[in-house]
Structures are given as C-alpha cells and as structure tokens.
Symmetry: D2
Subunit: 331 residues, 4 copies
C-alpha cells in the first residue's frame, strides 16, 4: 500500500471524463472555451475577482506568480523549509532572474508576523542589501499544518505595513480548506497570488495560478509563454481545473485524503511529530519499526533517522488507512 | 473544416489508450517505468545512442536543448523566420540567460552552409561581439520544407568546422521524415540535439528532447526541473512518447497529414508560394477568394494580404482535403 | 599620429586636477559631496530635472538605463549597427535578463519614425511575439551623424504614440551638441534616459546616466550595485563628471575634436562615405592608399576592404589634422 | 579622525604616480602594455601561473570569478556573514544567473571543513535540490580573521573531495598576508580563483581577479565585457595593480594598516569581540562610551547596540592610532 506521496496518485475519473470531453479541436493556447471560463469559475469559488492561468507544475505556478511580485534585485521571505527553497531546483532564482529567498523560522513550517519581522528588520534600507518585496507562505505547510484565517489576516497585515506582497503556495490548498471547514476565500485570506494545487489532489497535469490583480495576470501571460508553459492544447489543462472547481471535486478529494490521514493519526497520536491538519503524517518510528512496516507491504519515505512520512491521497481507501493504523499500533 | 493548425488537433486514440494505461501510481517525476524506457526506444528509432527527456511544449524542448549548447554570453544562428526567433515569446533569451539569436536568410526558411557563413564570417573574434556557439535548424521548416540528408550533412560539416553545435527544432519532424521516406536517423542527420515534436502529430502534451551526448542530458535534467517542467506525474508524458515511437504512429500520423496536404496541393500547384513537403500549404489567394472559402466553411489563417496558410493534421480526412482542393480549384 | 579611436585618448588636465582634488576621504559609494552635486549640475545643463548616476563604462551606462525601461520579456528597437547590438558583448541581454534587441535600418545608422514603424508594425500584439518597450538611438550615431532637434521630436512623438520609452546612447553626445550648436537639452530632445559620454571626451573612467524620471533612477541605483558598478571611491567618478559639465569642458573638448575632423574632411570631401558631423571620418581608401598612409605614420582602423575610419579626439592637434588632410590629398 | 572604513581612504602617492605615467594613449581595453604585464606580475607574486583580469570593484571581481565556477542551476557555499551574501546587493544572483548562496556558520566568519560538510551533507543528490559547485571564503574574514595555510589546505581538501571549486574573496587579502607573515601564495592556498583587493589598500578603482586555470580567465573575459566592466582606458586599472604588486606596496600598505590596528587593540584587549588579525577592530563599547569617543573626534560605525567597528587604513597615522587607543583606555 502506497503512502509515498500524493504527487503520483492516479487521475480521478471525473478528470479523465473532462479530458476526454475536451478532445475536439478548439482555439489553441488559452483561446479555447474552457480556458476562457477559468476566471469566472475561480472568482466565484473564492468570492473575489481573480484572473487565472493554468500551468503544468506547482513549481511553475509558484514562480509565475512570484515573478510578478518581486523584481530581479529583490527578495522573497519564506520559511526555511518551504518547497520553493528546498525542492524546486532553484526555480525561483531562474524565474525571478536572481532574486533571493530570505529564510524565516517557524514551528511546523508556518510563518508568523514575528518570523517575518525577524528576517526583515535587520535588513538595512540601502542598495547594498537585498530588499524583500514579498512573503510566500504554504497552505497547508510543508508539515501538513493549516493557517487559520486569523493567522492569515495577521500575516497579511504585517506584509501590508511593510509594503510586501503576499503569495500562497497552495500545492495542498484543498487539504487545508477541507481541514479548516471554511470557504476557499477564507482559507486563502487576503493574498495577492495563489498557486492552487490540483495535481496532488487527483488532476493529471494542471495547477491554477490566481492573480487577484489583473495587471499581474497580464504580465504573467507573457512570462508563461516565455517559460515554455503555454501549451498549445491548453484546453486539456483548463478542463482539469474546471472539473476540480465547478463542482466540489477539489473538496471531496481533499476530504477523502484528510480522512484517511486522520484515521491513521488517531492510531498513533503519541508518535506524531506534527499535528495532522491535512494529508501528511510525520511519525516517530525506529529503523526496526520502519523495516517491519515495509515488510508488511507499506511504502513510505524515511524522515530522518527516527521518523517516517506518510502521505494519503484522494484514492487512499479507508481499508488501507485502517490497515496502516493497525500496523503502527501493533508495533 | 479546420485548416488552422495541427497544434490544436484532437489527441489520437492510441495516445488516449496509452494515457489510460499509465494511470496507476508509479514513481514520480521521471522515475517511472515508462520514462525509463525512453532512451532505449529513441536510440533504436534513430539508430544512435541518445538520452531523452520529455517536455510539455516545443518551446521548452528547444530551449532545454539549446541551453546545453550555448553559454549566456554566446549566440545561436537561426533563420530569420525560425519559430525560436518569431513565435516563442523570447523563451531562448530566458532559458539561455540572455544569449542572442543571430538571424540568417534562406529560401523557404531553410539554412545553408553559405547562409551560416554569411552570419558568422563578419563576426570579429573578440569579446566585444557575441560569438555563435550553435546553429538551429527546423525540420520541416517554418514553410513546410524538408532538409535532405545531404543538406543536413553539409550544414553539420559547416558547423563542425566552425566549432558550432547543431540543434534541430523538429516540431514537425515526423512530417519531414514521412516526406523524405528515410529513417528517423537520416531525417535528423548528425545533429547534437533534437526537439522531436509529437503534439502537432496527435499527442496531447509531450515532446521529446533528444541529446546525442549524455552529459548534455544530465545538465538538461537540472534545468528542466529549474524551469518547472519536471511534472510529478511524468509517466503520462512518457506514455505519449512511447505510444508514438514504439510503433509507427509517429510516421502513420505524419503520412496522413502529408497526404492530405499533397492532395490539396495537387489542385492548386500554380498558387503555391512554397513546395509542399510536409503538412503546410502557403497559397496565393486574394481577399475575395479567402472570403469565399471561409463562406464555404473552411477555417485557416491569412498569410499576409495576398495569401493564406492551410495546415493539415493527422485527423484531416481525405474528404476534407478533397473538398478544400475542389473549393480552391473552383475559385 | 593616432586616429584609431577617441576611446583611449589621454585624460584631460582639468580631469586630472579634479581627480587630485577629490583625494581626501569622503563618504563611500555615492554618499560623497561630489556625487551629491550631480543631479543639480546636470539638471542645470539640460534645463530639465534629472537624477544622475555615474558608471564606469558606456556599456554599463546604456544597460543601466535600458533596464529601467524594458522588462525581461520585452524588447528594445535600435539600429542594426547600434553599439548596443554590435559592440557590447551582449550586455543588454545580460542586464535586461534576456530582453531582445529588434533591429531597424536607416541611413547613417540613424533611426526615423518610419524605421521604427517598420520594425514595430508587423509585430502581433500577443504573447508569442516579443513586444517592444523602448527605442534606443545614438547621438552622434555610429557613423558620426547628429540627430537634429526636429528629428528627435519626431522620433519621440512616434515613441509616445506607441507607448515606447526613448533612450539615447550619448557616447559622443558632446560631439553632436557641438556640431548642432544647440543646448544640451536640445541635442537630447525629450528622451527618458541618456547615457552622457565623457570617457571618449577626455575623462578617465566615468560616464553619466541621466534619468528624467526619478523613480527610474531609484531603481537603477539597486541595479548598479547589483552589477558591481557602485565603486566605493565613487567620488573620483563624480569628480570627472563635474569637471566636465560645471564648466564648458565637455563642449570645448568636443569642439576641438570636431574641428580636427572637419579640417580633415575638408581635404577629402569626395572620399567621404558619410557627412562628418562629429569626430569620426569614414574615408574611401584603397588598400594601397591605406598602406601609404600607415607608412607615413598614421594609425587608424580599416573599415571594410575599401575604406578606413579616422577618429579625432580632444587632444588631436591642428597640426596632426592638417598633416593627415595633406597626406590624403596627396595620395 | 576617521576609522569608518578603508574603502574610502585616499589614493596612495605611488598609485597616483602610476596613473599619471599611464596617461599616454595606448591600445584600448586590455590590449595596452600594462594590462599585458599582469599575468606575469601576479604569477611571480603567487609563485604559480595565473591569468589576471582587472575589475573596478570587489563585487565585480568576486562575481566574475564565481561565474566561471558555478552554473546557473548550482550554488556556492559561503559564510552566513560573507560579503557576497550580505553586502553585494544580490550581485552573485545576477552574475550567476540565479545560482544560490548556501549559508554556513563559523566563528569569526571563518569556514571550516566541518562547516562546509554541515551544509553539503544534507543536500540530496537529485535535481530537486540545488547542488553546490563551489565554496567561497574570505581572507581576511568579515571579522578581520586570517585563515592559516593549514586551514586553507584542509578546506581545499574538503572541496576537492566533494568536487567543489574554491574561491577566495580577498578584499583585504594583503592584510591577511601581512598578518600571517607568509608569501602571497601561502596566504591564498590552493584556491581556484582569487579576488585580490587593492581599493581598500590604497588604490583608486582597481581589483585583480586571478584565475589559476587559464580557461576560466578566457571565459571571464567575455563575461567582463558583457557586464560592462571592460573599460576602454583599462591601462589605468592595470597601472594601479602593477604599482601595487611589482614592488611591495601591497604589503607595505597592509602592514601600516595592521600596525595601527594592533596598536589600538593593545590598548583594549579586554573589549575585543574578535582577535585582531588584520585592520578591523570590533570593540565592546556602551552607547555612552561611543558618544564620548565621537565627541572626542573619532568617526566609526556602530556594530550592534553594544559595540563599534574601527577600521584602519594604509594612511592611518601612528599618532591617530595612539590617540584612539588612549581614548578607549581612558573611558
């Protein structure tokens, strides 16, 4: 049973249906009828006007957004363990033409106003030091933690006061929203840009980049093309996004994954390194215990020498979750 | 009937089948079993060892290849009407960190050794002038013309003598190979890198980048990730490529498109601006004639004030081709 | 006698005096008293408020200015033989992060509104084609030709109508102004940025970059530091600029160089490839004639197989000019 | 009395003499006779063949060197307080096209093999994480500490074993060498590239970049031009470097500065935050004490709330040093 990652899970049947339904030739790039519906669909979902671009990866989605917020000589404040810092192969440096990431600390890979201030305050306001222009936060965080709406508001206020834009990496945004039980708009808070993840949530190859300022979207369209991300059969990317958000698929899939994670968590609460607020579990396990679980057919990644990471997905069955919970309990 | 472009045609049923067959979770990125088969499949097709990466667009494919051939302070010699110069939104400047494109002339958007020399010879060999490091040619060319193997050999010899690498933009490589009636290896000639197009030939979202030097492929892997083009469900991109080349689908689709183009060409030989050697036709037509054709239900692009471009695709039916041929003949 | 270039001429005694006078320690970078006087000195000279940065080369000066006018995904329209295209080692591609130069034609390396339109008009307004954001002209041009104020006004009007910014490469701006017999402001016209050349006109290592919009200057300050051009003993660069423009040295030196060029030109009017409006002469000379001149002690560059380029400088003596004029007349 | 920084000190008389002696026109850029002597002069000084380029700032010098060691998708390991990280306005991100700086810890802003390992070891060897390609160390360090030859050998061995190149930022290299009492070659150790500082040591506007691999120098020549750092009157930069190193001026000036620092240090040993091994002192001083010193005519920078930084220079007189020593002792 696979608990390696949600990033390689199968594609949801409703996504398959949407892909097939998009087969007939339409205008290329994002001139097709499906792509043209994106702004409205996401504006409705978030209760706030936005312009939406599709992109084939979360890395591209984050970078296309950030590049509209930060000049090449500027910087982004993010958590030391943020995906853009740790796992995107230096893509922000590429897309932002050498802009820096300034690293903040925070429990659970979550930022706070104080953490942002701790990075920004010591920076002298002169040309010798790289000045921050934006903050990037991850919802849910790299440790599967969800920002509460009040926390988002506080971060946004801190940003506003400092003249910083605010980006949200939402690779697992749906999982956070499902956990919080709030609307998409509440789970995003007053961010300027949002990379709305779908691939980890049952899509094949499409993420949405939301711009709550249409001028930034216009800029990003040029940069998407320039990055080789303007697919000619873009209707297939739009189709995936619409299938996700024009119904409740985004939420249903996230609830399923979260539910499986919660079931597992319930059985090993004393072993958890982080509260489980999405679909990732970081579980204290000795090498011998990990070997035993693998011997029993469970696949997962080590997380340092004394722990393991388990990720559930939209297709994790209750049976599989229960089996893993039992197996850990039985160690 | 659509003759706008092959770039938005439907996906071929065998590609759909391959996509569905790839659904089950596998290792993410390019660690899956399908991606692992690419090198062998293409090495066999080309009769020459190569390492292969998938990429979601031709623009990304070209740029990932070129970035391994040319340093930021260098230049690529290409035709004045090359897609990388005219229609990729400046992507080479982005991927190559500001390297230049040096523009050559040539009938039919084809380069020759003399055209390359005409660009390269006047460049002083000093640091004040940007030095060429590679040549990029397009097979078939932007006007649907195919380089013959002897022409490729002559270009490659010119490059070798000048210390220039040779890249081939093969967005319609299959169409050229089908026209030439030669092997893939012969239609490519001794290039260093090749962007092997599939999307215009019935795929959904995957092109192959071939590196005949494995060190360049290793470098390109880092740059693909950095450009946000390393999709986590990369198995779906690999599946499309394998479906294309492990049988003869790439050739069969190209033959179908070429055949339709040839049928149309046969009916309007006196109007052709360029010999038809692939699946594009550039046809002299007055505004009134174009209006008449559109009135009759044909969709296509104007090509300047006195001509039109028609593109056939894998799914252009003989009936549609015949209808267009008749309609033009009847003007 | 040296007619190779003005770019390696000795430093004028008044510049030496200014350098020595700046020796005492002052605030580093551009915090010193001399640097603080630049804005006022140039604003007065040009009769228009501007913010001024020093830079050690014309290449850096041009690129720092252009980078405030053009985004990475944009383009600059310039003459096919502009220095930024031909002789700056690709610096615009570096400083502008891959933005393109779009090449226009024009007699004497001069642009016209029509030449700009000929480049800009065919560009489709979509993300597939790189959009121009600025025009760059050179005063005096690469062939020593000066734009008249009315020509500058026409170009600026064309730019304004198209939403393009206007930059002036003034490596030999003083020579143009001396020829035109007008004020600095008139010789610049309504440009947005100007690289005001001093090094070819008797300075050692300092050019001025003028920004007629202070926000662009603020941006350029970050980029100058980031490019490694913020010298810690910047007072020595400011001193050179002030010595040039707080008196009439910039004009006196240019007049001397122009006068020498005019004297030579008078003796070989029938051989001139271009009217002499600054301090450069392009003279039709056979290989044998060039050899004879070199045999007589004149140093200069060939300009293709049948011509030569002679450049005078602030220190070209009337005697040297007369000697060259006689030598050419006597061929 | 100024103890703000050595970076704005006057120019040494022998440098002035060398500048004046270089006035006569010579070949432009680095084709002049002085520039041609640099390789030999520095090869002799370091006892090891090297190719040398001049550059106008330490920032440019460091970045031109690093750009030959690290690809755009790579990283440099440096100290968290290294000048390239903290005070160069993001120049490495610009010159290295987005490559990252990975930050190591170490007492006195010094790196050790263990500090390098602590950064490099956790990096997974895959395309998702940015891989280090070089290490950069500063001699003397940002806290005025000197690496001993054995320490340099250990760092170089660590680098070699990991396949990392080694760069040295030698903005105050002369001060370190003077302190160590060893040859230039010993003070550099087996580095691949070295930015040899002169501006803080009595020059006006020239640093040397040493490449112990000539291929890297060839590459850097293109990049220097492209960065706008190839000055046309480059002979004035070469002249400064030769005046520094063809005699013992580099060492004499450093000894003078170090001597003054040592004199001050002797009087306040109990207040020092760092051992004084070059020409910088970090002295524990309360706000009231700092105010008293400033009231007595001493100029210096605060170093956090409870300390101050004093920097001596080649022209700090023994009297000034003694006066400061007495003033601190008398607090």
């Amino acid at each position: 049973m696979l608990f390696l990652s949600d990033n390689a899970a199968p594609v949801h049947p409703r996504i398959w249906d949407a892909l097939r339904a998009a087969d007939a030739a339409d205008a290329p790039y994002d001139g097709d009828g499906l792509s043209q519906r994106l702004d409205a669909a996401f504006s409705q979902l978030f209760g706030r006007e936005c312009a939406v671009l599709w992109a084939a990866t979360g890395t591209a989605a984050n970078c296309l957004a950030l590049a509209t917020l930060v000049p090449p000589h500027g910087a982004v404040i993010c958590h030391r363990e943020a995906h853009i810092e740790v796992d995107e192969g230096g893509a922000p440096g590429f897309y932002l033409h050498g802009a820096k990431l300034l690293l903040a600390d925070g429990e659970g890979a979550l930022l706070t106003p104080a953490a942002i201030a701790a990075v920004a305050d010591p920076i002298r306001d002169d040309v010798h030091q790289v000045q921050p222009h934006a903050v990037s936060i991850t919802q849910a965080s790299e440790y599967g933690r969800a920002y509460r709406p009040a926390e988002l508001a506080a971060i946004a206020a801190e940003c506003r006061q400092r003249g910083l834009a605010l980006h949200m990496d939402g690779a697992r945004f749906a999982n956070a929203a499902a956990f919080l039980g709030c609307t998409a708009g509440e789970a995003a808070g007053p961010v300027d840009t949002l990379a709305f993840g779908c691939i980890k949530n049952g899509a094949m190859s499409s993420e949405a980049v939301l711009f709550f300022d249409p001028e930034r979207a216009a800029l990003a369209r040029y940069r998407r093309k320039r990055a080789g991300h303007l697919q000619s059969k873009g209707r297939f990317l739009a189709a995936q996004l619409l299938a996700m958000v024009e119904g409740d698929l985004w939420l249903a899939n996230a609830r399923a994954a979260n539910g499986a994670a919660a079931e597992i968590a319930a059985g090993c609460a004393d072993r958890l390194l982080h509260p489980v607020e999405a679909n990732e579990l970081f579980v204290r396990l000795t090498p011998a215990e990990r070997a035993a679980l693998r011997g029993a057919g469970f696949a997962f990644y080590d997380w340092g020498p004394e722990a393991a990471r388990f990720v559930t997905a939209w297709n994790t069955t209750p049976e599989a979750a229960a089996a893993l919970a039992r197996a850990i309990a039985g160690l």
